[in-house]
Amino acid sequence: MEKANMKLKEIAKVLDAHFITEAMDADDLDISSACSTDLMSVVLYYHSMNCLLITGLTQPSVIRTAEIACIKCIVFVQGKNPNLQTIELAKEKGIPLLSTPHSMYSVSGRLFQAGLPSSPEK
């Protein structure tokens, strides 16, 4: 499988996802890797910066984790939508949020198939 960067807009299309927060630069925002987890310490422990986070958790501390770990974008699986507090924090931090109806396994599979590699694990 050839590895390829993906534009955020392209990712949204592959995942049938909608943008919860407006991403001004969705056309240009380049994503080079992704990770899937519901454990925030796993994000902080294993994954490298600038990746996309696929998760089923929607509370504000997910945004904080993303900011600390330098995560570029978050995809919420299974149609989950975060509350207003989470959305406001994401806007403030400039982290685009997407919501997809698909499961975490399916989302990971679709992106992997499209050529997006796993975030390098340390």
Binding site: V42, Y45, Q59, P60, R64, A69
Partner: protein, 146 residues
């Protein structure tokens, strides 16, 4: 690049147990400060992760705590002390995967037993002291020039 820090910079943040809404605010502000000083991105990330995990531990386990930082051109020293239950067996607590976090904390994506190991991993020097029934103090040093 050598960070542009003239003199020493210090400050502190108050942390309130159970306050998940503001969890991470201290680490974010510290991160911005290091960024302003021109510290290398990878080093900022390490400092931010170590601080954030320490901050989360206070919020999860303790009634209250304080995060104190001291930045010199050579390093950043972070001290996080809490009024929490204390840790009975530090060696056990330092093991990856060991956690005493309650179910509701795990449901929020925390309490995987990786906080303390992650602090140690991202620090150049790490020290923890704890008294059961009184609280825990974590000392971390991260070198700013590598």
């Amino acid at each position: 690049m050598t960070p542009d820090i003239s003199g020493n910079v210090e400050g502190s943040f108050q942390l309130i147990g159970g306050n998940f809404t503001n969890a991470g605010e201290a680490s974010t502000q510290l991160k911005m400060k290091l960024f302003e000083f021109g510290v290398d991105d990878a080093i900022i990330r390490r400092a931010a992760i170590a601080t954030f995990e320490a901050e989360m531990n206070v919020i999860i386990y303790a009634a209250a705590g304080q995060l104190h930082y001291y930045i010199t051109p050579e390093n950043i020293k972070i001290r996080v002390e809490d009024m929490g239950p204390g840790i009975e067996d530090i060696e056990q607590a330092m093991q990856e995967g060991y956690s005493t976090a309650p179910e509701w904390v795990r449901e929020m994506g925390w309490g995987a037993g990786m906080g303390l190991p992650n602090m140690k991993r991202n620090s150049d020097e790490f020290m923890i002291e704890s008294v059961v029934g009184e609280g825990t103090t974590v000392h971390m040093t991260i070198n700013l020039n590598e």
